[in-house]
């Protein structure tokens, strides 16, 4: 499945969320990096909320992109929140200990 990225306005939380949908692997990790970077360049002074509820698959190439974005935000004193990851995605964050550096929110399924 192709990767989709959409920005939604969550008025109830007074924030924007970047929603990722599909699968992220070696083939489209560069696309994700480009799209996320473009968003971050415009919103770099805010915390980043990544909603992964529709992301069915990610591997280390995708995690590498997210870590790169995280580093930029950390350098600016901002946080990156990972919202509603599916169980298989959450597991990958857990075994790589990236659940420690990212703020994971939302129930597992």
């Amino acid at each position: 499945m192709e990767l989709q990225m959409e920005v939604i306005n969550r008025q109830e939380h007074a924030r924007e969320e970047v929603v990722l949908e599909g699968e992220i692997d070696l083939a489209n990790a560069p696309v994700l990096k480009e799209k996320l970077q473009a968003y971050v360049d415009m919103h770099g002074n805010s915390d980043l909320y990544l909603n992964l509820k529709n992301l069915s698959y990610i591997d280390s190439t995708g995690l590498g992109v997210l870590v790169g974005i995280y580093k930029q935000h950390r350098a600016n004193g901002k946080k990156v929140f990972i919202l509603e990851p599916k169980d298989n995605v959450r597991k990958l964050f857990r075994i790589t200990n990236l659940d420690v550096i990212f703020d994971l929110e939302g129930k597992s399924e």
Binding site: D25, D59, Y70
Partner: protein, 143 residues
């Protein structure tokens, strides 16, 4: 499948040669998913297998500098063994630094993830001799 006559317990052996292009990682992954599902692995185990194969395939594509790599599935009653082989540059395992897990590293997680998700993992590689990754997952009921 368990009633069939087998050699060394092998029920089936499936091999394919894939172009070393990123778009074929998903082909390897979907093939693994179909085979693992047919064997009776549960959803979490299938996800483990998909990620492990994806990581090994990605490494072959990124680092072998070859046009193709091979993926083989050795199906037994109680396990699935996947072999990922390239004839590329290989590497010195002793010089391969383990990632500092949890310290926000952007690369080097692939081998760590494979070891975390599969029951047995073996890397055979030397400079100039290519790389063979052998990874095995046992069916839950047989662990």
């Amino acid at each position: 499948m368990s009633d069939r006559h087998t050699v060394d317990g092998i029920l089936d052996n499936i091999s394919m040669s894939l172009p070393s292009k990123p778009e074929y990682v998903s082909v390897a992954r979907l093939t693994a998913s179909a085979i693992a599902n047919q064997m009776g692995f549960n959803i979490e185990e299938i996800e483990d297998i998909k990620i492990a194969l994806s990581e090994a395939s990605s490494n072959a594509i990124r680092y072998s500098c070859q046009d193709v790599f091979q993926v083989s599935f050795v199906i037994k009653r109680d396990s699935l063994c996947i072999l990922i082989e390239d004839k590329g540059k290989g590497f010195v395992q002793a010089e391969c630094r383990e990632p500092k897990i949890g310290e926000a590293e952007e690369g080097g997680l692939g081998r760590f993830i494979i070891r975390s998700l599969m029951d047995e993992v073996q890397f055979d590689t030397e400079p100039g001799q290519g790389t063979l990754v052998r990874m095995l997952k046992r069916l839950e009921g047989d662990k």
